[in-house]
């Protein structure tokens, strides 16, 4: 009997010791979250969604390279090589010279991956009663951000849109850290973008004027992106439908005067359909001019000369410092103090320009309707403006593209607009030395290189031609 008790004791010790093993082997990180606990509730998922918004800040790179490579800018007075490889069209797939143009490749996939990581949890996260609607809101925002990520890649790393072009970008619909995906065709990428946006729009339901917020994805700014994308894929009827949906929603009318100027210092939220917020970072405020006032990238003479004296945009977008050097005034200062400014990633004026271009380009152009949109926009910008009439579609299209150049400068459009329209980059002699004055529309440089690290790491990745 005595032995049995002692025997039991021993077995008990050994048993308790090792029965705890399985639990002790399944350890979870303490300092960071893991898949097991990162996103348990919808509140957590909301934090994941916030992270995806934050990562979409990579759009700043589109703003930077569109300005540098196109005719919007020239190297500033204090430039010591910043952006010079891009400006001089000397970029390669290597970070040493191609740092600017390869950046967005990693950046947009970081948005997509964040979405893909959070999305399954948005489906499974525990929901309190009455939170089903909130789940849909979060899912909708994630899907839309994924579409924006893919669209960002398509614009930068592919040729002018052709659904049959096999060199789209890999479509990522689930997180795959060790994956080596091949490129999908442009049509497949577009199908995924459209499907994500359609689903998102359904999930997000309609937004009222009073409830509209430009800091979150909602059905109206999704429509705005649908309009932008429809124009990109040359579906002009859809572009008209979507842009009309946004304009008619009335959430953000065109404004003039100080109401317009205040947009750029974040004094108001006029015209802005979607913005990326910054609280303490001056990343956007110092994109072209350092916080210390050194002008690295300046507005081109071509752009500066394009504005009429009565055009409010001239002084809103371009200013001159005490040293007599012009600098980019758009995204320069904040009414909140310092240089902490938001990215105004989508604005109502673009919708007028999208619709005008679609009217002009569709198979049976509506010159009057197109001209009306263009004149409406110009009237809100130029004091004493009188409407212009257009007799040909080409004339109207040229005017619209010039207007986009002026209206959307430094907002991440110019180079992509030229590419979309098969137009060369043409700089003035005052803006560039002869070697860097003309980039023919046929140049491979309109399609950015896939980063060399990517082609090294992923044997299925095909490099764009010319790199």
């Amino acid at each position: 009997m005595k032995y049995k008790i002692k025997y039991s004791f021993f077995v008990l010790i050994v048993f308790t010791l090792f029965s705890s093993c399985k639990k002790d082997l399944n350890l979870q990180p303490i300092d960071s979250f893991s898949d097991a606990n990162a996103f348990l509730s919808l509140d957590d998922v909301q934090l994941g969604v916030n992270g995806a918004y934050g990562r979409y800040g990579t759009y700043a790179n589109d703003m930077y390279v569109n300005a540098l490579i196109s005719d919007e800018s020239k190297l500033g007075a204090d430039n010591a090589g910043q952006g010079a490889f891009s400006y001089r069209w000397q970029y390669s797939s290597d970070a040493s010279s191609g740092g600017d143009v390869i950046e967005a490749f990693g950046g947009y996939y970081a948005v997509i991956d964040q979405v893909n990581r959070v999305l399954p949890f948005a489906m499974t996260a525990s929901v309190k009663a009455g939170e089903e609607e909130r789940r849909n809101q979060l899912k909708g925002q994630l899907l839309a951000l994924r579409a924006l990520g893919h669209f960002g890649l398509l614009q930068a790393y592919c040729k002018n849109y052709d659904p049959s072009d096999p060199l789209g970008v890999p479509v990522l619909l689930k997180s795959d850290p060790l994956g080596k995906p091949a490129r999908n065709s442009m049509g497949e990428v577009m199908a995924s973008i459209e499907s994500d946006l359609d689903s998102a729009k359904t999930l997000l339901q309609s937004t009222s004027v009073s409830a509209f917020s430009d800091t979150v994805i909602n059905s109206i700014n999704i429509a705005a992106y649908q309009a932008r994308i429809a124009l990109y894929r040359r579906d002009y009827d859809a572009a008209i439908t979507y842009s009309t949906e946004v304009i008619n929603s009335g959430v953000k009318p065109l404004v003039s005067g100080s109401d317009f100027q205040g947009i750029w210092t974040d004094a108001n939220a006029n015209e802005t359909l979607f913005r990326i917020k910054f609280l303490t970072s001056s990343a956007i405020g110092s994109l072209w001019t350092t916080t210390g006032g050194q002008v690295y990238v300046a507005p081109s003479d071509k752009l500066t000369a394009s504005y009429d004296a009565a055009d409010i945009r001239k002084n809103s977008y371009i200013a001159t410092n005490p040293g007599g050097n012009r600098y980019v005034n758009k995204f320069f200062q904040s009414s909140r103090g310092g240089r902490v400014v938001d990215i105004k990633a989508c604005r109502i004026s673009e919708m007028y320009l999208v619709r005008a271009e679609a009217y002009a380009k569709r198979s049976n152009p509506d010159l009057a309707a197109g001209a009306t949109d263009l004149n409406t926009l110009r009237a809100s910008r130029i004091t004493g403006y009188t409407d212009e009439n257009f007799v040909s579609a080409t004339g109207l299209i040229d005017a619209i593209l010039q207007e986009r150049f002026k209206e959307l400068a430094f907002e991440g459009f110019r180079l992509f607009d030229l590419k979309r329209n098969n137009l060369p980059v043409e700089r003035l002699a005052a803006d560039a030395s002869p070697a860097w004055q003309t980039l023919p529309a046929s140049s491979n440089l309109f399609v950015f290189p896939i980063p060399r690290t990517e082609t090294n790491a992923n044997p299925n990745m095909v490099q764009n031609s010319g790199y």
């Binding site: 025997y7 399944n26 303490i30 850290p177 060790l178 090294n456």
Partner: protein
């Protein structure tokens, strides 16, 4: 999970409970009848033998002899045979048969063959151990004046790389066994102290004078015993246990000095530097005409001089003269003479069944530069209890260590060793009022460093405890059960105080720097271990000897760290975080709090066995199943195994007849093991991790690391074949081992696709590559003279290891430090642009491009890998021991050959464009191009110096590591018999080094590149040891 089932548990006589219960039972154990047995054991010459194991055969009852060879213990009344054994002597047995006194002279035996190999899990006779192992015994490490015992091992054991990367008191060495076995994982071996695994690289809290021996286990037999943690080899420390008999007290004291080592590097003196600056200015022209370069500024060859008025010229000449008169030797200013003191009191003794060993030691070392020292108190208590059934051993060490650190170990303007080489000799150290001549600019480099060192503080308090308990119970004649438990505990509190009074802070415009800062940090590291086991041993028919052990093991590592950094410190309270100023919107002195926690678990089951036939052939085998929490659930369990065989050739008749061969044994082993302690990526590398962040005003959770869901064990396979021999009347003895170590599923760095979401070119450790280490090791000893009054032994050991990356599993080569990890090359192979000298016509630096053509364009893309590796393939040690009557002399040299190291000091001190030109001092052998036709080693100062093979040099060395001379006073020096033993000795360490390396120390700094690291000091000590 594995559970050891005990087949004969019903026979348990005494309780086998948890430790607490056991302790409660202790006083009540052992009531059986006993009788006292005593005697004295000597060697053939009549010299008393200490530490001879005396046991009642077949039991664990016994004791060890004292320094005078005597012993006394109580044996069970029914004891039949008594056995005397000690390393190096033939074991003797006597039938007790009622006798109470046994004194005998033991015959010197087999030198190495009868050694006991302590694996930390078991103790095995060397003759029954199939693996490659070496033992460092007490006499080889005693009184070596370093605080971290791993530094002692250099040159003593073959196959072991020990590089003392810093001479700062208490720094542990870079140590690895049989070449580097991993790329992304760490390569340091597993350290076991009295059966308990201890933290790698934190040994300052242990007193090596308490160590009985260190076993270095290098092959698969040992590796497989430790399974998941054995692949980098195992270093097993056994501490001293009490000797039976009356309590003996030993007092020892050692004291001495530490000085900077001698090295060929010499900075320029004032005359040389001023002349060099003038040469520089003549080439550079007007932009060099600045007071920062007085050698040119005041020079007559500077056109400025010609433009001066006569008064101006006189003033300029006067300024030049007064500068010329200053000649500060910054090497002398930075280095100081350090001191060393170690005092220890040891008690050892015991009654029949219980023995104790207690020691308390005070260690004090002052380093060879300001504010670097170590003070330590260690207390060890080892308690043993044994009767005929039951053995109980407690090993307990507590160390409290306080260390002061130098201002900065990194290469920057606060590191005293870079200051010593870069500070201008014409800079003054102190003002007339005794304060340091601080200021802004390179002229004030040295004084600023001394100034900040005098104001700032950087120290740590460390409490380290290693506690081990082993209970062993003999269930029957052949079966015993044991439980080993223990904990390794370390808590380090760090304080870094940045004084607002130091010039560099006074002059700073950064508000947090200017106000002074205080950092308090706390790191805690706890590793509990539990290891129950059961062993069966039986000899059948006198010929078949079988031993089988089964055990399970559970190890947990828990880490925790907290850091608090505050600003605005009141200089009157530099030792307290309470001295900080609370931050607010006005003062902007916001304190920063950081820290983290992490843990991992390892659980294992092992079965190992040995079969010996007729003492001639032995076969060993082990199988171990391991799981680590660091790996995903479907790959975390893995089996490791080993097999081994021993053939006692000398027991075969055909060898026995050869008289020259006293003993000859052939060993072979093969097995696999893992790298659990060294899995890269922290404790959770297989899991994706997320961290909290900020988007605008909103909080976020974002992916931080991808995690590798396919992570699995990196497995090392070692084949070892060895020979142990004793020849010529046992005068020549040693062993030779050859091995092939292959690491598969090697952790390598994989570049991720950007689609993984971590940006362009992010990387992740994956299993893929294959790494090979092949080599040969030898130990040879010769007893040249062996008689009563004089013994003279010569010994040498050496090894050659060839390391090669066999495969990267399809991943591309990647850079790491100064090397490129490339298939076909050894690890550590330097990767840089090849230097082609200086163009004698133009002074331009020349390089080779990738095709071997000389170019004057520096392009990092031209880097090649043909400059060797830092990991020296050849290394070893040799020396001699001489004993004449009471005198003894021992010498140990250590060496390594074939290692190449990047000399960063050269980059800074033979750099006219970037360093000379801004006022730094340069090396006295700087020879830059001055005019067409010059054959120079450095380019014209108009050209920048780039990183190239120019600074890669041979780091081979031969060091006179230890020299000791001692005298043991004859017996009876004290009439009162109060003193039973007395010894005095002189010891020198790192006395000389022979090397082509020009820097302060070829070992110091990173293993691949030196960055002005603390050189290993030269030490001279004297000591006294008295046993009462």
């Amino acid at each position: 999970m594995m559970i050891v089932v005990l087949p004969k548990l019903r026979r348990i006589q005494k309780g086998f409970f948890c430790i607490a219960i056991m302790l409660a039972f202790l006083p009540g154990i052992a009531f059986s009848q006993t009788k006292n047995i005593s005697g004295k054991i000597t060697d053939a010459n009549g010299t008393p033998l200490a530490n001879v194991s005396v046991v009642i055969k077949g039991t664990t009852v016994g004791t060890t002899t004292a320094t005078d060879g005597t012993y006394s213990f109580s044996a069970p009344a029914n004891a039949k045979q008594i056995e005397f054994s000690i390393l190096g002597f033939e074991t003797q047995e006597f039938v007790i048969n009622g006798r109470a006194k046994f004194s005998t002279a033991l015959v010197a035996s087999s030198k190495l063959l009868e050694q006991v190999v302590v694996t930390g899990i078991s103790k095995t006779k060397k003759s029954e151990y199939a693996g490659a192992s070496s033992k460092v015994s007490e006499r080889d490490m005693k009184n070596v004046p370093v605080a971290s015992f791993d530094q002692v091992l250099q040159g003593k054991v073959p196959g072991l790389t020990v590089l003392s990367s810093s001479g700062a008191p208490g720094t542990s060495a870079s140590i690895f066994i049989r070449g580097q076995g991993s790329i992304q994982g760490q390569v340091s071996p597993l350290f076991i102290v009295d059966g308990i695994p201890v933290e790698q690289g934190v040994f300052q809290g242990m007193n090596s004078n308490d160590f009985q021996s260190i076993d270095i286990l290098r092959d698969a037999s040992a590796a497989a015993l430790y399974g998941s943690r054995g692949s980098s080899g195992v270093i097993v420390v056994t501490t001293k246990r009490g000797a039976s008999g009356k309590v003996r007290m030993t007092f020892s004291h050692q004291t001495g000095i530490k000085d900077k080592p001698s090295f060929p590097y010499r900075p320029m003196n004032t005359t040389e530097l001023l002349k060099t600056q003038e040469d520089y200015g003549k080439i550079i022209g007007p932009s060099a005409s600045t007071p920062v370069l007085p050698g040119y500024y005041y020079s007559h060859s500077n056109p400025r001089y010609g433009t001066l008025t006569d008064e101006g010229k006189a003033a300029s000449d006067h300024a030049y003269d007064s500068i010329s008169k200053i000649n500060t030797n910054w090497i002398d200013e930075i280095f100081r003479r350090g001191i060393f003191q170690n005092t220890q009191l040891t008690f050892s003794g015991g009654t029949g069944k219980t023995r104790i060993y207690s020691s308390v030691a005070l260690y004090h070392e002052e380093g060879i530069t300001a504010r670097s020292d170590l003070r330590r108190v260690t207390v060890r208590n080892n308690l043993d209890y044994s009767d005929d059934k039951f053995t109980f051993a407690v090993s307990l060490n507590i160390g409290y260590t306080k260390r002061n650190f130098i201002e900065s170990a990194a290469f920057n303007t606060s590191n005293p060793f870079s200051i010593a080489t870069l500070s201008a000799p014409y800079a003054k150290v102190t003002n007339t009022d005794g304060s340091y001549t601080t200021g802004t600019g390179t002229l004030y480099l040295g004084a600023n460093q001394l100034d900040i060192t005098s104001y700032d503080q950087n120290y740590s308090d460390q409490l380290k405890g290693t506690l081990g308990f082993t209970l062993e119970y003999k269930l029957s004649k052949n079966l015993s059960a044991a439980l080993t438990t223990g904990v390794d505990f370390r808590e380090t509190q760090g304080t870094v105080y940045g004084s607002p009074l130091a010039y560099q802070r006074l002059s700073s415009t950064t508000i947090t720097t200017h106000s002074g800062s205080q950092t308090e940090s706390l790191t805690r590291f706890v590793t509990p271990t539990v290891r129950p086991s059961i062993t069966f041993r039986k000899t059948f028919s006198g010929k078949h000897d079988i031993e089988i052990t089964a055990l399970t093991e559970y190890i947990r590592q828990v880490n925790k760290a907290i850091t608090a950094l505050g600003f605005g410190v009141d200089p009157k309270r530099p030792n307290s975080i309470a001295a900080i100023t609370q931050g607010n919107g006005d003062n902007k002195l916001f304190a920063q709090i950081g820290g983290g926690k992490s843990e991992n678990t390892l659980t294992s089951g092992l079965i190992m066995g040995r079969y010996t036939f007729n003492k001639k052939y032995s076969f060993t085998g082990s199988y171990r199943q391991d799981a680590s929490s660091k790996l995903p659930s479907d790959t975390r369990w893995i089996g490791f195994y080993s097999i081994g065989g021993i053939w006692e050739l000398s027991r075969e008749n055909f060898i026995r007849s050869v008289r020259a061969i006293n003993s000859l044994r052939l060993r072979a082993s093969y097995g696999s093991s893992g790298n659990a302690d060294n899995i890269p990526g922290g404790d959770y590398p297989y899991q994706a991790s997320y961290t909290g962040g900020q988007y605008g005003a909103l909080k976020t959770i974002e992916a931080l690391t991808p995690g590798n869901p396919n992570f699995k064990w990196e497995t090392t396979y070692i084949t070892n074949i060895g020979v142990d021999f004793e020849l010529l009347n046992r005068r020549l003895y040693g062993n030779v081992d050859v091995y092939n170590k292959v690491t598969k599923d090697l952790f390598v760095q994989k570049t991720l696709s950007a689609t993984a979401g971590f940006g362009n070119g992010a990387s992740l450790d994956v299993n893929g590559g294959k790494l090979s280490n092949r080599g040969v090791e030898f130990v040879i000893n010769g007893d040249v003279i062996r008689n009563k009054n004089l013994t003279w032994t010569i010994f040498a050991n050496g090894s050659y290891n060839k390391n090669k990356v066999v495969s990267l599993g399809g991943e591309t080569s990647y850079e790491q430090g100064t090397e490129l990890i490339t298939v076909g090359m050894p690890l550590g192979s330097h990767y840089t642009v090849e230097w082609a000298g200086v163009d004698a016509a133009t002074g331009q630096p020349l390089y080779y491009d990738k095709n071997g053509k000389i170019t004057n364009v520096y392009n990092a893309d031209n880097a090649v890998q043909k400059f060797g590796t830092w990991d020296a393939p050849w290394k070893g040690g040799f020396g001699t021991n001489i004993r004449y009557k009471g005198f003894d002399l021992s010498l140990l040299f250590s060496w390594q050959r074939g290692g190449k190291k990047d000399d960063n000091l050269e980059f800074f001190t033979q750099n006219p464009a970037q360093f000379l030109g801004v006022g730094y001092n340069q090396s006295s052998d700087l020879n830059f191009w001055k005019q067409p036709g010059d054959i120079a080693t450095s380019p014209s100062p108009i050209y920048a110096t780039n990183f190239s093979s120019k600074s890669i040099h041979d780091a081979s060395f031969l060091r006179l590591r230890d020299l000791s001379i001692g005298y043991n006073f004859p017996k009876g020096i004290s009439k009162s018999k109060l003193v039973s033993n007395m010894r005095v000795y002189l010891q020198g360490n790192n006395l000389f080094i022979w090397t082509k390396w020009r820097g302060m120390d070829p070992e110091a700094g990173g293993v691949n590149i030196n960055l002005s690291e603390y050189p290993n000091p030269r030490t001279l000590t004297a000591g006294l040891e008295i046993t009462f």
